[in-house]
Amino acid sequence: MVCKMEHDQIEDMDTEVLHSMWPEDVGPDVSKQFNVENPGGDQDMLEEVTIVEEPSIVDFKRLLELTNYTDQGSSQLAYLVKHWEYKQATAVRLLREELDILSKQRQEVELKKLEILEEHRFEEESNGCDKRPVSILEDVYDIYEDVPRRKKDAVVQSKRVEIAAEYGTIVYWKQRALHSEKLLEAGTQREQALQEKLQESIKNLERQSSPVEELSQILKRADNFLHFVLRNAPVVIGHQDKELRYCFIYNHFPSLQEEDILGKTDMEIFTGPGVKESQEFKKEVLDKGKPAKREIKFDTELFGSKTFLIYVEPVFSKAGETIGINYMGMDVTDQVRKREKMMKVREEIAVQRAKETEMNKTIHITEETMRAKQMLATMSHEIRSPLAGVVSMADILSNTILDREQRQLLNVMISSGDLVLQLINDILDLSKVESGVMRLEATKFRPREVVQHVLQTAAASLQKILTLEGHVADDVPIEVIGDVLRIRQILTNLISNAVKFTHEGKVGIKLYLVPEPPFAKEGSQSTPNIPQEENSSLTLQLSSDEKGLSGQNHDECPCQIHLLSDSSMDGDKEEQHESTETTVWIRCDVYDSGIGIPENGLPTIFKKYMQVSVDHARKYGGTGLGLAICKQLVELMGGRLTVTSRVHNGSTFTFILPYKVSSTSDNSDDPDELLDMADHDAATDDITAGFFQFHPSNLGSLFSSNGSTRTQQLSSNNIGYNSSNNLNGFSEDSYSFPSDDVRPKETALLEDASSTVEVAETISEPESSFSSSQHTNNENVVCRGKEIKDDGENHVKISSTDPGSHSESSREMGLMAKTREPPGSCQSTASSSPEEKSKLKPKILLVEDDKINIMVTQAMMKQLGHTIDVVNNGVEAVRAVQCHTYDLILMDVCMPVMDGLQATRLIRSFEETGSWDSAVKAGIEQSVLSSDSIQQSKGSIPSTRRMPIIAMTANALSESEDECFANGMDSFVSKPVTFQKLKECLGQYLT
């Protein structure tokens, strides 16, 4: 029984299925469960067992009542009575059988007696035949009178024996009589014995116990068995009445006395957690009238913290009312503990597994990201470049002589090509920002110019009667540092959107300073992605750029250098710059009087591929990418882009961005600029002007594309603005070849330009190289006084041979560069001199060992109006840089002798330290020829300026791109280098 119960429990732990642990119904078939019918053997076994009867405390009176009133009690009684009756019936049957046997025997005996008597009579008759059949027994001849006759018989017989003895045959008869007598005696004896037995049986019967005795015996035996079975079981069995007062309790480890328990409820006995729960559980069972099981945790003072599995079963009266409960509890603390441990282990395993899957997912995602990155590189390479090829070819074609119709067709071609290119660029931009590849640049720019330019380009392609206006508040700094390209992109996007959705009225930009917005304070450390260390070099680079913008340089540049060298003779320019740097927040509102955005469209307006409605998309076109890119870009730069709008009244897009302001450069720049500008026509307005207005001037223009910068730029050549010629120059400089904007009036013939340079060179060089000698020590570390003499001589030689042959057939020269060039010398083609306009021609160095690439690049450069220096490996590149300062270096990565990465590192190290020590270490001796650098030192550009180095590689994957950036390269162009790419580069680095 115990075993079974334990088994049940183990099962129950998992399944919690409710079923009774105790016989549900003690009915007639209970015999199977109560194996007490065979008292003999068991009795002996039990006798050996000493049963401690103490633990059970019984309210006998109650038990009696129970047995009287409850179903179970009565059925139990009924069983016992039945059992007793059965036993009695068996005994009666046995007795009856015995009686039957006895009566049979008596009948037999009587029959025999009759036989004997008959025999006897026959003999008498036979006797009588001889004589007169008169019997001696004549007067008593009544055989039907039993007993007296028998007596007579016996008498007669004895008489007869006497007669026999008298008559001769008497012996025989005597014998017979004797025999009969013996038989008779035996019969009587038997009769007596049987009668005695009967008496005894009857006595036995009487002696046998009454049903009550029997019952109590059986009960006692069952009780003993129960005790035996439950002796060591950790169970508590009890019965409680309707009020849950204990009437009976069996507890193997009693800790309380009878009187402490009986008649009391759980609540009265124990205190502590769990008691109330068990009490309530019992009540529940009582109310519901259905047995139930539950595990309850007790923590009582009496037995500490233990968990019990409790089975409670209602007890019904015969009338079907619940009058109490049977209750059984088992201590399952250990099991519960084990189970909990198991659960914990299982939980841990589950967590482990979850972690594993998470890890796998992460790995998967990382792999996916890597793949996506690769895809991105491939995409940009595979889609953009062929398309760019098509567009740039069309571009080139447009420079040839065409008739009107052809030109129109070509313009359509270019503008739609541009549109697709713009779309691809948008998508790539977006994925770049999203995958974190997008890099921000920190360059100095003038917000007013940007506003002006954006409006101007928008006005150029305007086909509606709209007024475009720009307001820039006075407190907005003249120059700030930020990623001007991206900011311009955002502005252009917003403006073109505004124009698209506005049919009349105005579109404008408002720019003003705001205090630092609250969102910036939370994450201000992370927001400005602008590399700090670049600032100093950038400032310098920019200040030289500006003179390009103003168009007048040679006066201003030395001036600026002086200022710089004055303030930073100690060489700690960087510190100076950083200490005076402050961040300003500029708010930019782009407003329009257009159709507006309905309120329900506002939440989705910045989502990718989302437009306010399908109707809008159909009516106005577009991909729904523009605003998404704007928002991403603004957020990337640490700002916020928001929108307010009213339907039919217009929308205002507002973005707030942080910009750095370098006060040092402002101080050095502004007076110069202003001075310079004063000389220049109409330039003064531009720097501080706070209001711009444009009216559509080219309504007749056939072809325009929203968002396409190129078309605008192209058309801008044909359109006259109210503003000065200088503005034209501005619009050009960021998108097209630098040579154009340098001399805006001479844009037409590139060939002319190079020939001018040529002439200028030959005249100016000797002079400039010598005159520069006094200034060298100040700035340029490379140019030692000792070298100057040699330089001068050498350079004269070269310049006498070089420029002549160069400009005519630069291509040829590139091919022959190797053979012609003396080792260690530099090939100089378009050297600049501050006195001449030709100085403005940017110096470009191509480092490439592949002849085909050289040929093609040279040819392209030539078409773009540039001539370039060519060297064939890293070592030669370093040497070339030792002699000249270049405005741009195109560097192949993969080269013999020294690769592009190392060469870049050496050049960068020189720029940072001012010495070529690392180059010498790498095995490159200092070049003797450095005439150019002497000129430079005197001229516009200090040698420590950071030269833009653009990597060119056939390996288009992102890892090699990262490698390039890691080695100090500024940009990355994958081969084949197309016209478009080259133009973009030049546009970006030679402005």
């Binding site: 080139i396 291509r811 592949d850 030539k862 390996n955």
Partner: protein, 139 residues
């Protein structure tokens, strides 16, 4: 005159077929655009140059791959060079195979590299032949 026109048309068709088959890429057109009065033979020059260059690279590659321990750095160098110059030349097919070749180099799969080398050689000689025909016809 009619004959000339027909020949010219044939030439155009032949040129188109080169693009259609993917032997030449768009970049070749750009190359042709670069040709002007100052360098009338520019494309031919580039092609000749490519021819010599690629032969040199292929020779080096064959050598390198036949070594017992292959110097993959060297192989990659030449492959990238070849890829660069072929793409610059507009030799689309060659450039494409070079990309595959480069990937196998990264895997250090000598067998596949050798296979690629053979393909590149085939493609190059095919291209050489076709270009010669083209240039011959153009004259």
């Amino acid at each position: 005159m009619a004959g000339v026109a027909q020949l010219q048309r044939q030439l155009v068709e032949y040129r188109h077929s080169l693009f259609d088959e993917g032997i030449l890429g768009d970049y070749f057109k750009q190359l042709e655009q670069l040709q002007d009065e100052s360098g009338p033979d520019f494309v031919i020059q580039v092609a000749t140059s490519f021819n010599n260059d690629s032969e040199n690279h292929l020779h080096k590659l064959t050598e390198a791959l036949e070594q017992e321990s292959v110097d993959f750095e060297k192989v990659v160098y030449h492959v990238l060079k070849l890829k660069g110059s072929s793409s610059c030349m507009g030799a689309h097919k060659v450039s494409e195979i070079c990309t595959t070749f480069h990937n196998f180099c990264k895997e250090k799969n000598i067998e596949k590299c050798k296979k690629c080398l053979e393909q590149v050689k085939d493609e190059r000689s095919l291209l050489k032949g076709k270009l010669e025909t083209l240039f011959e016809a153009s004259k």
